[in-house]
C-alpha cells in the first residue's frame, strides 16, 4: 500500500472505531460517553506504534461496556484495556502521538470540562518536556500533574523542560533526590508535581537513561521502567484521573520502583510478592453506617446516641478550612450510659480536611493534605474527579460508648464549619 493509502486506511479505522463505540455503548457515565474519543486515541496509539494488535482494544472496550454492569469494575476494565494498548505504544519511535494520547486520556475526559487554551498551553509544555527528556512517561506525568488553576501553575511543564534542558548532568541525580525529599516536607497539593519533576529528572537523557540518538526508546532495549509502570497504573485509573494523580501517595512511586526492580530479579519473587499482597490484604471490618449530615458552626455541639460499642468511627470534614495547614476543628467526646465522658478525641487537620480541597479549582492554593484515614468518597469522573476531604476519625473506649458529643472548636474561623457526615459502628 502506498503511504497515502495507508494513512487513509488509518483514518477510516479511527472513524469506524469511534462510530462503533458511539453506537454500541450506553452513555451511563461520562467515561462511557467518552469511549468514542478513547477509540480515536487507541487508533492513534496503534498508528504511532505501527501495530494493528493495539487496535484490538476497541472491540474489547465495547465488550466491556456491555458485559460489565458494575460501574467501578467496568471503568477499571476500560483502564486495563487502554493501559495494555498504551504499554505497547510506549516502545514506539513516534513519541509525540503517544504523549498526546496520554494527556488526552488523563486530562481531556470529560470533554465538556476542557478549558481549551489552558490545555493547549499544557500540551505545548509537555511536548517541550518530551523534547528535552526524550521520555514519554516524563512528559505525560508532568502534564498530568500540572494544575489547571491558577494560571501561574501552567508554568510548571515549562520549568521542568528548562531544567531538563539546562541542568548539568552531574546535578540530575541530586535533583531527583531533592524533589523526592521535598515531597515529604512540601504542601500536599505540590506532591504530584514534585513526583513528576523527580521522574522527569530521572528520565532525562544523559542522566540515568541512555537512548539511541533521536529516539525515545532506551538504548538498553525495551525496558519497563518504574516511571512507565507508574504511568500505566495512572492510565488504568484514567476514569478517575483527576483524583488518582493527586491522591496516589508519593510512596506509590517507591512501591512501583521496588516491584519493578525486585521483579527483574526473579518471577518467583514477583509471584511471592503478588501473592503476599493478595492474601495478606487487611480484612475489611464491615460497619453499620448512620447518616448524620450536620454542619457545626464554631462552638456548636451535636449529641448522637449510638448502640453500645467500644469503637465508633465518625466521618467528618471541614468547610472553608482549606487554608489551614494544621489545627483542631473540633472534639469528640464519648459518653457511657451514665453520661460520663469515657474518651475524648480531637478532630484535627490531618484527620480530616476541607471537603472540597482536592477540587482542581482549589487544590493548588490549599494547605490541607489527604486525611490519614480518608473516606475515599469519589466525586466526578475523569480529570474532574476528586476525593472529598472527609476523614474517618476513630474513637475507642474501655467501656461501651452510648452517646457521642461532637463540638466544633471555638477557634474555627467564623465562616468555617465542622461537617459530620456519618457515624459507623463495627458490625458484630
Amino acid at each position: 500500500m502506498t503511504r497515502a493509502a495507508t494513512n487513509i486506511g488509518w483514518l477510516l479505522a479511527a472513524a469506524a472505531s469511534a462510530y462503533a463505540c458511539l453506537v454500541a455503548v450506553p452513555g451511563t457515565t461520562p467515561i462511557d460517553r467518552a469511549l468514542p474519543l478513547v477509540a480515536l486515541l487507541v487508533t492513534l496509539l496503534a498508528w504511532s506504534a505501527e501495530s494493528t494488535a493495539v487496535q484490538i482494544a476497541v472491540p474489547l472496550l465495547i465488550v466491556a461496556a456491555i458485559a460489565v454492569p458494575d460501574e467501578r469494575l467496568r471503568l477499571l476494565t476500560y483502564g486495563v484495556i487502554v493501559a495494555a494498548a498504551f504499554a505497547r505504544s510506549l516502545f514506539s519511535e513516534a513519541a509525540i502521538p503517544v504523549v498526546i494520547a496520554g494527556i488526552a486520556l488523563l486530562r481531556w475526559i470529560p470533554l465538556d470540562g476542557v478549558v481549551v487554551w489552558r490545555e493547549a498551553l499544557i500540551l505545548f509544555g509537555a511536548l517541550l518536556v518530551l523534547r528535552f527528556t526524550r521520555s514519554v512517561p516524563a512528559a505525560v506525568l508532568v502534564a498530568a500533574a500540572t494544575p489547571l488553576f491558577p494560571l501561574k501553575a501552567l508554568a510548571f511543564p515549562f520549568l521542568i523542560a528548562a531544567l531538563a534542558a539546562w541542568l548539568p548532568r552531574r546535578f540530575r541525580v541530586w535533583a531527583v533526590v531533592g524533589f523526592g525529599v521535598a515531597v515529604v516536607f512540601a504542601r500536599y497539593s505540590f506532591a504530584a508535581m514534585l513526583v513528576a519533576a523527580a521522574v522527569a529528572m530521572w528520565e532525562t537523557e544523559g542522566g540515568l537513561i541512555v537512548r539511541r540518538p533521536g529516539s525515545a526508546v532506551p538504548q538498553s532495549g525495551r525496558t519497563i521502567s518504574p516511571p512507565s509502570v507508574l504511568l500505566l497504573l495512572l492510565i488504568v485509573l484514567f476514569a478517575w484521573s483527576g483524583a488518582a494523580i493527586h491522591a496516589l501517595p508519593p510512596a506509590l512511586l517507591v512501591i512501583v520502583a521496588a516491584i519493578a526492580i525486585v521483579g527483574r530479579l526473579s518471577p518467583i519473587v514477583a509471584a511471592a510478592g503478588g501473592l503476599t499482597l493478595l492474601f495478606c490484604m487487611p480484612a475489611t471490618t464491615t460497619f453499620d453506617r448512620t447518616k448524620v449530615d450536620t454542619a457545626l458552626k464554631p462552638s456548636q455541639s451535636l449529641t448522637i446516641d449510638v448502640a453500645p460499642s467500644r469503637r465508633v468511627v465518625v466521618t467528618a470534614s471541614g468547610a472553608n478550612v482549606s487554608s489551614m495547614r494544621s489545627g483542631t476543628l473540633g472534639t469528640i467526646e464519648a459518653l457511657d450510659a451514665k453520661q460520663h465522658v469515657i474518651a475524648t478525641r480531637p478532630i484535627a487537620i490531618g484527620d480530616v480536611a476541607d471537603w472540597g480541597f482536592m477540587r482542581r479549582e482549589h487544590l493548588f492554593a490549599s494547605r490541607n493534605r489527604l486525611p490519614h484515614d480518608p473516606s475515599w468518597r469519589l466525586i466526578g469522573y475523569g480529570a474532574e474527579s476528586w476525593f472529598t476531604g472527609a476523614g474517618r476519625v476513630t474513637i475507642d473506649a474501655a467501656r461501651h460508648i452510648e452517646t457521642l458529643r461532637i463540638t466544633a472548636a471555638p477557634s474555627l474561623p467564623r465562616i468555617a464549619s465542622l461537617q459530620i457526615e456519618s457515624v459507623e459502628l463495627p458490625r458484630r
Binding site: 500500500m1 469506524a16 521483579g263 514477583a270
Partner: protein, 637 residues
C-alpha cells in the same frame, strides 16, 4: 487456597524452563507489574459484586498469556526451545488445570471409560454389571449412571460398554496410583506427548522455530486440545497417534506409522476411516507391496474388528451398515460441514478460532507443507462420514470433539500462513484466552444441550435483554445467521486468495460487527423460540428434559400450565404460535386471550395466529389447560 498457591507456584516456574538472560529479566518485570495490577484491582473491587473465582482463573490465564507472548517475541538466544521443553510446559499447565475440572463430576462418555477401567482393575473383566450395582464405590462420583443407549449385552446378561476398551486400559496405571486424578494426569501425559509430536512435526515440515513458538501456546493451551487433554476422551491420544502416523509415513518409517495407526484404530473404530486413507497413501508411495506388508496391514484393520466382535458381538460395534450411505444425503453433509466451521456452539469459528486460519490454508493447498496435505487428506473419508451424522457436533461433550484429531494439521496450516495471518492473531489470541478461562472456571459449561443456542448467545441474551442467540449461527436449530455466515465464509475464503484486506481495518470491522450485533440484539426478532434464554419464564418447564438422549432430534419448547407465564421482546403485528397440546389451553398475550385447540398428541403440532399491537416486551400467560409452546414466528407481509 493450597491449590491456588500450587497453581501460581507452578506458573512461576515456567519461565525458568524456557527463558534466560534478557528475556528472563524482561518477563520478570512484566510479571511483577501484572501482579501489582491484579492486587490493586482486587483491592479496588473488594466491595463489587464480582465472581472472585472467575477473576482468579482469568488472572492465571492472563499470566499464561503473558508467558506465551514472551515465548513468541523473545530473541531466539534467550529462549530454551525444544519439543521436549514444550511437552514439559504443556504437562505443567495441564496439571494445573486438572483440579479445576474436578469441580464438577465427569460427564458425557467419561464416566463410562472410567467404569471400564475400574472393572479391569477390580474384576479383571469388561462386564460392568457390578459397577452399575455399586456406583457409590466408583470414583466417577456419578450415582445416576445407567447403561448408554446401544451398549452391548452379553449372552448371559453381561453389561458391556459401547466404547472401545483401549483408552480404559491405558488409564489403569494412573488410576491405580491416584484414582480419578491419576486417570486425568494420564490424559495430560497424552496431551504433552501430542504437544511434543506436534512441535516435531512442525520442525519436520520446515516451520521456523519463531513461528512454532508463536503458534504453539494457542494450540496446546487453546480449545479443543486443551480441554480434551484434561478430560477422559480418546480424542487427544488419537490426535497424537495420527500425528505420529503421518510423521512416520512422511519419513517412510513403518516402525513408526504402523504401531501408531494400530493404536489409533484400537482407540475408536471410527478412526479406521482415517487409517484406510493413510495406509493407502503410504502403500501407494511404494511401488510394490510385499506379502509381509500386506499381512501387517490386514492385521491392523482386522484386530479392532475382532476386539469389537469379542466385546459386543458385532465387528462394527454399534455402527450399522446404513451409515455407509450417509454421505449421499448432501444436505446433511453441507449442514454438518458448515456447522463444524461456523456453528456458535460447535463450530471452529466460535469455539477454536485459531483453526479458521487452517481452513484458509486449504485453498492454498499446493503451497502448504506435505505433512498438512497428507494429514488433511487422510481425514477426508472420516469427515465425509462425520458431517451427515445427526451428532456431527459431538453430542454431549466439549465442543469440536470429533475433529480434535484434525487440529494438529490445521495448526500446521496456520503456521504455514503465519506471516499472512499476523493481523488476525491478536483477536484470536484474546478469544482463545477467554474460551479457556470460561471453560476452566465453569467446566460444566463445556457441555451444552443441543438446543440451537450457545453459552455465549445465552449470556448475551441475558445481558442485553434481547435475543442475541438469533445473531449467532446455529446448524443445530438452523437459523438465518447460519446461512449468512456460511455464504460469508465461502466468499471470504475465495476472496482472500485475490484480495488483501488492509490490516488496520480488521479490528474496526470487528468492533462494528459487535456494535451492530448489540443494537440488533436489543430489537425484537422475527422468531421467538420459547425455550431460549432471552425469554423470562415464570413457571413451566423445558421440553424435552434437559438431559434427554439425542435431544437434538426433538423440537424444543416450553411446557406451560395454568398460572405459568413468560415475557419476551416481540414484534408488533401478526404472528403464528406453533405448539402441541393434548387437551388444549387458554392463553393470554398481553391483554388479549385466545385458545389453543388440542392437537392430539405430544408430537402433533398445531399453529394459531395471534396479533400484537406494537413492538416491545410482551407477556404470555397460560390461563387454563396446558401446552408445549415451540415458537412464535412473525408473519412476513
Amino acid at each position: 487456597m493450597t491449590m491456588t498457591l500450587f497453581v501460581f507456584a507452578a506458573l512461576a516456574l515456567l519461565p525458568y524452563a524456557m527463558f534466560r538472560g534478557r528475556a528472563q529479566r524482561r518477563y520478570s518485570a512484566a510479571d511483577a507489574a501484572l501482579w501489582a495490577l491484579f492486587a490493586a484491582l482486587a483491592l479496588l473491587t473488594r466491595d463489587a459484586d464480582v465472581d472472585r473465582y472467575f477473576a482468579l482463573v482469568a488472572f492465571a490465564v492472563v499470566k499464561l498469556s503473558l508467558f506465551s507472548l514472551f515465548l513468541a517475541i523473545s530473541d531466539e538466544q534467550d529462549v530454551r526451545w525444544s519439543a521436549n521443553r514444550a511437552a514439559l510446559i504443556a504437562l505443567v499447565v495441564y496439571g494445573c488445570a486438572i483440579p479445576a475440572m474436578l469441580q464438577a463430576p465427569i460427564d458425557g462418555d467419561e464416566p463410562y471409560y472410567l467404569l471400564v477401567t475400574e472393572s479391569l482393575v477390580h474384576d479383571r473383566d469388561l462386564d460392568l454389571t457390578n459397577q452399575y450395582a455399586n456406583l457409590a464405590a466408583s470414583q466417577t462420583g456419578r450415582s445416576d449412571l445407567k447403561p448408554q443407549q446401544g451398549d452391548p449385552v452379553g449372552r448371559h446378561g453381561e453389561r458391556y460398554s459401547r466404547h472401545e476398551p483401549l483408552l480404559s486400559f491405558l488409564l489403569i496405571p494412573g488410576y491405580l496410583i491416584a484414582g480419578l486424578p491419576g486417570a486425568l494426569i494420564t490424559m495430560a501425559l497424552f496431551g504433552a506427548l501430542l504437544a511434543r509430536s506436534t512441535v516435531r512435526m512442525f520442525e519436520d515440515e520446515g516451520i521456523a522455530d519463531g513461528t512454532t513458538r508463536a503458534v504453539f501456546p494457542l494450540i496446546a493451551f487453546g480449545p479443543p486440545i486443551f480441554f480434551f487433554a484434561i478430560r477422559i476422551w480418546p480424542e487427544v491420544p488419537a490426535a497424537w497417534m495420527l500425528v505420529e502416523a503421518v510423521r512416520g509415513v512422511r519419513q517412510r518409517r513403518a516402525a513408526r506409522w504402523i504401531p501408531a495407526l494400530f493404536a489409533l484404530v484400537l482407540l475408536k473404530l471410527r478412526f479406521m476411516l482415517v487409517a484406510i486413507v493413510l495406509v493407502f497413501r503410504a502403500l501407494v508411495a511404494r511401488r510394490r507391496i510385499t506379502a509381509k506388508q500386506f499381512a501387517i496391514v490386514a492385521l491392523l484393520f482386522a484386530t479392532p474388528l475382532v476386539v469389537a466382535f469379542l466385546v459386543s458381538g458385532s465387528a462394527t460395534n454399534v455402527h450399522e451398515a446404513y451409515e455407509l450411505r450417509a454421505p449421499l444425503a448432501l444436505g446433511n453433509v453441507a449442514r454438518g460441514f458448515f456447522g463444524l466451521l461456523v456453528d456458535g456452539a460447535a463450530g471452529i469459528a466460535f469455539q477454536a478460532p485459531l483453526y479458521l486460519i487452517g481452513i484458509f490454508a486449504l485453498i492454498r493447498w499446493r503451497a502448504m507443507p506435505e505433512g498438512f496435505r497428507l494429514g488433511i487428506s487422510s481425514l477426508g473419508l472420516y469427515l465425509l462420514y462425520l458431517c451427515p451424522r445427526s451428532e456431527w457436533h459431538g453430542g454431549w461433550s466439549p465442543p469440536l470433539r470429533y475433529i480434535t484429531i484434525a487440529m494438529p494439521f490445521l495448526a500446521l496450516g496456520c503456521a504455514a500462513l503465519f506471516d499472512r495471518a499476523r493481523a488476525v492473531l491478536p483477536p484470536i489470541a484474546i478469544a482463545t484466552a477467554a474460551l479457556v478461562a470460561h471453560g476452566v472456571a465453569y467446566p460444566w459449561r463445556l457441555f451444552h444441550i443441543a438446543s440451537g443456542e450457545s453459552a455465549m448467545g445465552e449470556w448475551l441474551s441475558i445481558l442485553l435483554h434481547g435475543d442475541a442467540s438469533r445473531l449467532i449461527p446455529s446448524f443445530i436449530r438452523l437459523n438465518n445467521a447460519a446461512i449468512v455466515a456460511s455464504i460469508a465464509l465461502v466468499v471470504l475464503v475465495i476472496a482472500s486468495r485475490f484480495i488483501s484486506v488492509p490490516r488496520m481495518l480488521i479490528a474496526p470491522a470487528l468492533a462494528l460487527a459487535v456494535a451492530f450485533g448489540v443494537v440488533a440484539a436489543r430489537r425484537p426478532g422475527d422468531r421467538i423460540d420459547f425455550e431460549d434464554a432471552h425469554v423470562m419464564h415464570e413457571g413451566g418447564e423445558l421440553y424435552p428434559w434437559v438431559y434427554e438422549v439425542a435431544r437434538f432430534a426433538y423440537r424444543g419448547g416450553w411446557v406451560m400450565k395454568a398460572g405459568d407465564s413468560m415475557t419476551f421482546l416481540a414484534r408488533g403485528g401478526a404472528s403464528t404460535i406453533q405448539y402441541a397440546s393434548k387437551s388444549g389451553a387458554t392463553m393470554a398475550l398481553g391483554d388479549r386471550t385466545f385458545t389453543l385447540p388440542p392437537t392430539g398428541g405430544q408430537f402433533d403440532y398445531g399453529a394459531v395466529r395471534v396479533e400484537l399491537p406494537r413492538d416491545g416486551r410482551t407477556q404470555l400467560r397460560c390461563i387454563s389447560g396446558s401446552a408445549n409452546l415451540d415458537r412464535m414466528v412473525h408473519d412476513a407481509r
